[in-house]
């Protein structure tokens, strides 16, 4: 599939199958209540954008989905697996859920190719040759195959983030989490990363994305979730959410980020 074909493609609708259910999840940092009774259900193939002011708990929420953060009460089920303290469950979930970080978190002591083949070889036990083919395939998809033998430190921020996305894709995950993937990038590099994410969205990947890129939300999101002070204040389809925000907090937030 060429890039333009993908660009013109319309994202397939999500299926009816639930892959993530968050039921009354609560989390505290000491006395600070970061997540308050959060309820959210995500269907397979659904693309969700989570936004909100800083400190609203949006990153914490998606970090709970692969257990980078623990929650204290409530229940989170991912791909039919209950995420609790059970290490086996946590490892099973992490094999299916991959995360792209704000600061890329590539491994600086390995080449791009080694970054990509590491998890398939050690976690999925893919033979090395196959893992390399897989890695080259995804590097081509993020249009960076020619950098395979460089070290992350030799790449620009946008290139590094695309490598990080390819690294996640190499695990062939069912769900991708994005934690502010473009906020550490120079402005001219934001687009190259968003383009890759839009393509991914249009291929039917289940995505949860914490971002302030409202253009991205309008283009691909099935639902936009607005969080403030640890609660989900409002959620809806992008056109409803942006054109008719219901709560005052959402209106204020939107006016602040859309005004500039």
């Amino acid at each position: 599939m060429t890039a333009t074909e993908t660009m013109n493609k319309v994202a397939p609708p999500p299926s009816d199958e639930d892959v993530i259910t968050i039921n009354k999840a609560n989390k505290w940092y000491g006395n600070f209540h970061v997540l308050k009774d959060v309820d959210l259900t995500v269907r397979k193939g659904e693309r969700i954008v989570i936004c909100g002011p800083s400190g609203s708990g949006k990153s914490t929420l998606i970090r709970c989905l692969n257990r980078l953060e623990a929650y204290q009460t409530g229940e989170i089920t991912v791909d039919g697996i209950l995420l609790g303290d059970d290490v086996k469950n946590i490892e099973a979930v992490r094999r299916e859920v991959c995360m792209v970080f704000q600061h890329f978190n590539l491994f600086p002591h390995m080449t791009v190719l080694e970054n990509l083949t590491l998890a398939p070889i050690w976690v999925r036990k893919t033979p090395k040759k196959e893992a390399i083919e897989l890695a080259m395939h995804y590097l081509q998809r993020v249009r960076i195959a020619e950098q395979a033998h460089k070290f992350p430190g030799q790449l620009s921020g946008g290139q590094q983030q695309r490598v990080a996305i390819a690294r996640s894709l190499c695990m062939q995950p069912k769900i991708m989490l994005f934690d502010e993937p473009t906020s550490a990038l120079d402005p001219e590099m934001v687009k190259e990363v968003l383009d890759v994410m839009v393509e991914l969205a249009k291929e039917g990947m289940t995505m949860l994305c914490v971002t302030h890129e409202m253009g991205f939300a309008k283009e691909v999101a099935d639902r936009v979730v607005f969080m403030d002070a640890g609660e989900i204040v409002e959620m809806g389809e992008p056109h409803d959410f942006f054109d008719n925000p219901k709560s005052d907090r959402t209106k204020l937030f939107l006016s602040q980020i859309l005004s500039h």
Binding site: R67, L68, C98, L106, F107, H109, L118, F151, S168
Partner: protein
């Protein structure tokens, strides 16, 4: 990017002109620097010629007391006459080819292991080489089989003893220190407490005390008839001591690796040990190469303390040689200079290798 940088214009003028420029620019560029330069030259002129005269011009290599009495400079004859005693201690004279061969094997294994950085194919051989090398060295030193006569390890001494104590010390203290560092960061309270207590107690006690405890007090707690070899006790003491220091060095390295690296490993589904081995430790250990080698060097020199429990390492063997004949006793300076030179050679090599290792591992990345 490096390749877009313009090179500075090349030097102009003859070699003579250029050296004059260099001297002006680097040695006499201000009145204060000129003064320092002159003072340094005066200091060198004052200190170096007498040393050269003592060590080379007025010295003798002839291994006899009379020859030594005849010269005003250094009596290297003392070293010459007692070389085998200094190098091999009281190891039976006719069997001294065995510690010599053992040292050669040891050096071979060490050099081959260190070369693994440059030649990745060697890396797979490192562990097998040690697994074979250590028993070979043990057989050579102890004997008692293959037609070799048995030599008690209380007769071991000199350079082989120093090298064996420090090499085995490094080989075992390294993994133990690593486990302690990981233990100290563990979420499991029992393991964490144990590691912290161990590190703090051992660090809080001088090595000399640890060695005393190992050699004098420890046997008191053993039931009658059970005895653990003196050399082994000293070796264990050195390992336990060094491991505590290394643990703190490694902990520093672990803390310097950004949290994001742990999270990236976790989110890709790697297990704790996989993450540690593949992602965290390669970065953490690289960061702490200088302090790690520092610990190794200091441990190598600390092995001289085994003298207090009656083992004769290199330094101990020098003292032994000085006492062997009252006539030699006055040549202690030569003896200590010789021992110092050997220690310097080993420690300096370690320092150079550490610098090389850092450079080699940094190639390619973070440009």
């Amino acid at each position: 990017m490096a390749n877009s940088l313009k090179l500075p214009p090349g030097p102009v003028g003859t070699v003579g002109q250029r050296s004059v420029t260099w001297v002006r620019k680097n040695l006499f560029n201000s009145w204060f620097n000129s003064l320092l330069t002159l003072l340094s030259i005066a200091f060198v002129l004052w200190i170096v010629p007498p040393i050269i005269e003592w060590a080379f011009v007025n010295s003798t290599l002839t291994p006899s007391i009379d020859a030594c009495r005849a010269v005003t400079g250094a009596c290297w004859g003392f070293i010459n006459a007692n070389l085998r005693l200094i190098l091999f201690g009281v190891y039976p004279y006719d069997e001294q080819w065995r510690p010599l061969l053992a040292m050669i094997v040891l050096f071979g294994v060490i050099i081959a292991s260190l070369a693994g950085v440059k030649y990745p194919r060697m890396q797979k051989l490192i562990i097998p080489m040690w697994v074979v090398g250590i028993p070979v060295i043990a057989i050579l030193m102890w004997g008692g089989m293959l037609g070799l006569t048995y030599v008690q390890n209380s007769s071991w001494g000199g350079l082989p003893l120093t090298l064996i104590l420090s090499t085995i010390g490094i080989v075992f203290a390294f993994p133990l220190g690593l486990l302690l560092a990981l233990g100290r960061q563990s979420n499991m309270p029992a393991i964490k407490t144990l590691s912290v207590v161990y590190i703090e107690v051992i660090r809080g006690v001088p090595l000399i005390t640890v060695l005393f405890m190992a050699s004098v007090m420890f046997p008191l707690f053993l039931p009658d008839g059970v005895s653990i070899d003196k050399l082994l006790r000293a070796q264990i003491g050195i390992i336990l001591f060094t491991a505590a220091y290394l643990a703190e060095v490694f902990r520093g390295g672990l803390q310097a690796v950004p949290r994001g690296q742990f999270e990236a490993g976790d989110s890709l589904g790697l297990s704790y040990w996989q993450s540690m081995r593949l992602i965290i430790l390669p970065q953490a250990l690289r960061l702490v190469i200088p302090p790690t080698v520092n610990s190794f060097i200091s441990m190598l020199k600390d092995t001289t303390l085994v003298v207090i429990i009656g083992l004769f390492d290199l330094l101990g063997a020098v003292k032994l040689a000085l006492r062997s004949d009252p006539a030699w006793t006055r040549y202690y300076v030569e003896g200590y200079v010789f021992a110092a030179a050997i220690f310097f050679l080993i420690c300096y090599s370690m320092g150079r290798y550490s610098a090389y290792l850092e450079k080699e591992l940094r190639k390619g990345e973070r440009r």
